[in-house]
């Protein structure tokens, strides 16, 4: 849930040396080898979600002339947001005790030594991980969130506009929202809103920004009468498989320890993904006559996004329900609502991530159970408060992300422009923006 506790006397632990681990005083937190082992891997797994996971999931869905632009965007965000994060992003989110935003105390990771234990923890107060590992783990979340938005304006965005917007967005939308919810001093955290692995911080946030961006930038030319089959469905499946794999780092890592809570998050994540994949396959089969590969992959992703928020609060039965609902609603969203409302969210960044994020936020309020984390009960256990605060969190983040994303997109448009020219769009962004062609057969 990332409902984390900042230690009052951080400075105390600043002096814990790695050599001191052998004989810890009872109350002093240590760097646990086991938890650190898991979290190093979890961090790398979240990197894998962006490149090559999401890059191929999105890249396979676009037309052949635009795949490199997608891959390039994922790499560029990885590079740019990593630097932003280390230079000031991490500090903005996690330092200080402001309700709305952090300060610059940890800019450039100033004062964070390699022997420091992380001031943040979930289930294991005593056995923690290095602070710098926590920085990296959180950094991977900061990277993937703007990368998700790339699905909304795919096939028609200007690369310079994309890059500027992503960096602004990471700073002015992601950082504050993450602060509100994941920094224990944040105002939503203080109200009791919970988000285990980023259903709100990542998925609603990016989903709403996607909708805004798709509406602002407008449709691709010929969108109405174009039938646009994905150019490489095996790539879509490759990406989906890597996302599924990496999502265990994302969700099961969010407890910051290798314990029963992590195992529970693993279980709910996997079961929700499986259910959602199965349900989407069934809906395709019943409503469209055939089960499809793109469908089952999309379903799995919807299930993964849906459970993200709830993974460390609910039990396996609830995970099945959340997966099923995510799948049905997202299916309806991309198959019916998008057509009716007639906007062009190219790769359904809103229709899948945004929508599933909302479902997860509310579902956490309903299904959270004290069996998983003793302090968190939802509606089914008689606690009506949680679902209220969860709804509030979802709405607040949606409104904030919606308004500020629009503003940033508008500013970017004025400064460098966001829309590729008609000619660039028809030539393909790969060649127009990068002077590269994805596949060539010159021998």
């Amino acid at each position: 849930m990332k409902r984390v506790f900042s230690l009052i006397a951080l400075v105390v632990f600043g002096s814990v040396s790695i050599f001191a681990q052998a004989q810890p005083a009872a109350s002093e937190p240590i760097i646990s080898f086991g938890n650190t082992a898991w979290m190093i891997v979890a961090t790398a797994m979240v990197l894998l979600m962006t490149i090559p996971g999401l890059a191929f999931f999105y890249g396979g869905l676009v037309r052949q002339k635009n795949i490199l632009n997608i891959l390039m965007q994922c790499f560029a965000i990885m590079a740019a947001v990593t630097l932003q994060w280390v230079v000031f992003g991490y500090s903005l989110v996690f330092s200080g005790d402001g309700s709305f935003i952090g300060n610059f105390d940890w800019a450039m990771l100033k004062g964070i030594r390699i022997t420091d234990v992380s001031p943040f923890f979930i289930s294991q107060e005593h056995d923690r991980i290095p602070h710098i590992l926590y920085v990296m783990y959180q950094g991977m979340f900061a990277v993937i969130t703007p990368a998700l938005i790339a699905g909304a304006f795919a096939e028609r965005i200007k690369f310079s506009g994309f890059l500027l917007f992503s960096i602004l967005w990471a700073t002015f939308v992601y950082d504050p929202v993450a602060h509100w919810i994941w920094n224990p001093a944040g105002w939503l955290a203080k109200m009791g809103a919970i988000d285990f692995a980023g259903g709100t911080v990542v998925h609603i946030n990016a989903g709403i920004a996607s909708l805004v961006a798709a509406l602002y930038i407008g449709k691709r030319h010929n969108y109405v009468n174009m039938t646009l089959p994905p150019h490489n469905i095996p790539f879509v499946a490759l990406g989906a498989g890597l996302l599924w794999f990496g999502w265990f780092g994302f969700n099961a890592g969010s407890g910051l320890a290798a314990d029963g809570l992590a195992a529970n998050a693993f279980l709910t994540t996997h079961v929700s993904a499986a259910t959602a994949a199965f349900v989407w396959m069934g809906l395709d089969w019943i409503l469209n006559k055939k089960p499809t590969t793109v469908g089952i992959s999309t379903g799995a992703v919807a299930g993964l996004a849906g459970i993200t928020q709830a993974a460390g609060f609910v039990s396996v039965g609830s995970a099945i329900i959340i997966g099923a609902i995510s799948s049905v609603v997202c299916f309806w969203m991309v198959g019916v609502a998008k057509v009716k409302w007639n906007y062009d969210d190219t790769l359904d960044a809103f229709g899948v991530h945004g929508v599933a994020g909302f479902i997860g936020a509310i579902a956490t309020g309903i299904f959270a159970t004290a069996l998983v984390q003793p302090n968190y009960s939802g509606l089914i256990e008689g606690n009506t408060a949680l679902v209220g605060v969860q709804t509030l969190m979802a709405v607040v983040v949606a409104v904030y992300a919606g308004l500020v994303s629009w503003l940033l997109f508008w500013i970017t448009d004025k400064l460098v422009g966001v829309r590729a020219s008609k000619k660039e769009e028809s030539v393909g962004l790969d060649f127009a923006m990068h002077k590269e062609i994805a596949y060539t057969n010159v021998d």
Binding site: P229, L283, D284, F331, W332
Partner: protein, 115 residues
């Protein structure tokens, strides 16, 4: 010498090739094309069914001597026909010269093997 170009359904390629073989056409060249015609194919993409008139087809071409043309056309029609929309077309045109690169032979004799 005549050039024959046949645009057929990809899945029937094997049958057509065998029928041509029986009609004494052993040298052929082919590649994949997209055809726009009467036939439509339905695909599914993310919860939506859409129809497309762009169909994957195969184009077979060969050059043969005049006396083989009718036999070859019959063979293709027989093997490539399903009776449903989209069976494809055959086009015949004149070839004024032909060269076998290996030997430099020109004209009709470049088209068959003399033993």
């Amino acid at each position: 010498m005549k050039k024959i170009e046949a645009i057929i359904r990809k899945p029937l390629f094997d049958e057509v090739r065998e029928a041509l073989h029986e009609a004494d056409i052993d040298f052929i060249t082919y590649w994949d094309v997209t055809g726009v015609g009467n036939e439509k194919a339905g695909s599914i993409f993310r919860a939506k069914v859409y129809e497309t008139r762009f169909i994957q087809r195969r184009l077979i071409t060969f050059v043969c001597r005049e006396h083989l043309v009718d036999k070859a056309i019959d063979a293709i029609v027989r093997s490539a026909k399903t009776g449903e929309l989209g069976d494809g077309k055959i086009f015949v045109s004149d070839i004024t010269d032909s060269v076998r690169i290996r030997t430099g032979e020109r004209g009709p004799e470049s088209l068959f093997i003399k033993d």
